[in-house]
């Protein structure tokens, strides 16, 4: 129950910045509109590109905008706090706590993600529905979509935490963080759906953890994954989540052993 309490407080902390949230919703929506017109231009000429029809593509555009902050494709979230605390030495306090370090920060990040889902996830989706003819999920599809988004946050947290942990060695993980954001932008399918990637490139990007960010949840929403496809998608996300969290745990143990806090 401790972790739930941590998550609830993270949710509340983020909910204090109302204007920033509204500003973000506005910007996500502007981008949603722009991207819809470019996708419409593509799918008007090539109506079955990547196995999507134009309605799928427009839905993809809005859901991707809705997931940016929830999944943390541009970085940020609890892991930025961790990196900061490692740099200043405050991390010593976190390591002394009689709770799991990873559990504590994962709970914080999930609380943040829940807030972003309720605001910056829901609002652009509603606006998208008002402006364009989007595809709705079945009730079961919607429920599975939410599970998939939860797993997407865990995968993203694992990647972001790995980079934050590198602060123990680099002192400033800013550059590495930018590399991670760059990889996220290219490989999550934020600017162009991964289904459009040609041949072996498609196979490759679908195997990397970033496919868990947008492509897998959206395919569940659109009904392109059903039955065994859903199970495979969720299993893929769960697998990457577990592997990445294990890597984080391993790296943290190394860090604890060799790092002297306050002084390098």
């Amino acid at each position: 129950m401790l972790y739930a309490a941590v998550a609830v407080r993270a949710f509340r902390r983020y909910s204090t910045y109302t204007t920033a949230t509204l500003a973000g919703i506005f910007t996500n929506s502007v981008f949603g509109v722009i991207i819809c017109f470019s996708y419409r231009a593509v799918w008007t000429q090539s109506p079955h590109a990547g196995g999507y029809d134009v309605r799928d593509a427009l839905t993809y555009a809005w859901l991707a905008q809705a997931l940016i902050m929830v999944v943390g494709i541009w970085g940020g979230g609890a892991t930025d706090d961790v990196a900061d605390r490692i740099r200043t030495g405050d991390v010593a306090i976190d390591l002394y706590r009689p709770v799991s370090f990873l559990g504590w920060w994962l709970a914080t990040d999930l609380g943040r993600a829940a807030y972003h889902l309720a605001t910056r996830g829901v609002a652009p989706t509603v606006i998208g529905y008002l402006l364009f003819d989007l595809r709705s999920p079945s009730p079961l599809g919607a429920a599975l979509f939410l599970v998939s988004v939860l797993l997407a946050v865990v995968v993203s947290f694992g990647l972001r935490m790995l980079v934050a942990t590198a602060t123990f060695w680099l002192l400033d993980a800013g550059g590495l963080r930018e590399v991670l954001v760059m990889l996220g932008l290219v490989l999550s399918g934020l600017s162009v759906p991964l289904v459009l990637f040609p041949g072996w490139l498609h196979t490759l990007v679908m195997a990397l953890p970033w496919a868990a960010f947008v492509q897998v949840p959206v395919d569940i929403w659109l009904g392109h994954r059903t039955g065994a496809g859903v199970a495979a998608g969720l299993g893929f996300q769960l697998g990457w989540g577990v592997v990445l969290l294990l890597c984080c745990a391993l790296l943290l143990r190394l860090a604890e052993r060799r790092v002297v806090v306050q002084g390098g």
Binding site: T19, F26, V42, V179, S191, P198
Partner: protein
Amino acid sequence: MASGLREAVRAFLLLAGMWVRVSMTYRASFAFSTFANLVTAGVDFGAIVVMFQHVHALGGFRLGEIAFLYGGTAMGIGLADLAVGNIDRLGTRVRMGTVDAMMVRPVSVFVQACADQFALRRLGRVVQGGAVLAWSLTVVHVPWTPGRVLMVPVLVVCGALIFTSLFVLGGAFQFVTSEGSEVANAFTYGGNTLTQYPLTIYPAQAVKLLTFLVPVAFVNWYPALYVLDRPDPFGLPTALQFASPVAALVLCTLAALGWRAGVRRYRSTGS
């Protein structure tokens, strides 16, 4: 006036140089971030290339012509971002109350806000945009005239000035609400994304808005119609194709007025 401008440029270069030295402190981090920025700058063009695996033209424009539009707007926002992009950090400074410190220094607040955390890695966008623009010039079939050749640098300069104005207006807005930096992104980066494509993919009413209300169409669309020797698909006057400098001048004036109003409105933090 002239000496004031020289003083401002000198102050900007001093501050920018200081931030470059700061960023070099952590060597590994600097190397990673330079690499990341170079690749990130190319992501949008990569997306367009992926789309062209499935189509031969977008909005009636072939890849080479879209590369021209893309390169123009990328260089415009890249140069603007390099010079004044960090003005969007102003909201954080307003919230922290550190604008007070800027105001008592003997350097203009505007110059300090622009040079704040200056990052050389932002050259990545300019370099990448320039490369795409140069490539596009080799593949488009255009009867080159001195006027068309001259229009290319005019396009880049006007684009940079228009985006600079939008950044500054966004910065000024943060005196009104310190959490509003994302709204500015919708106009700057949103304007950039929007103008990467030919405006023929948008509804005709939207194009009027982008001409007369938020004039990002002057960043590359109108000059490109002239350079690429295309009639205006929306049947708007040909004069617009030469009006980018006018649009840039009007926006710069508005930005200057907006910034002054913002600075006057500033009250220190104290919640």
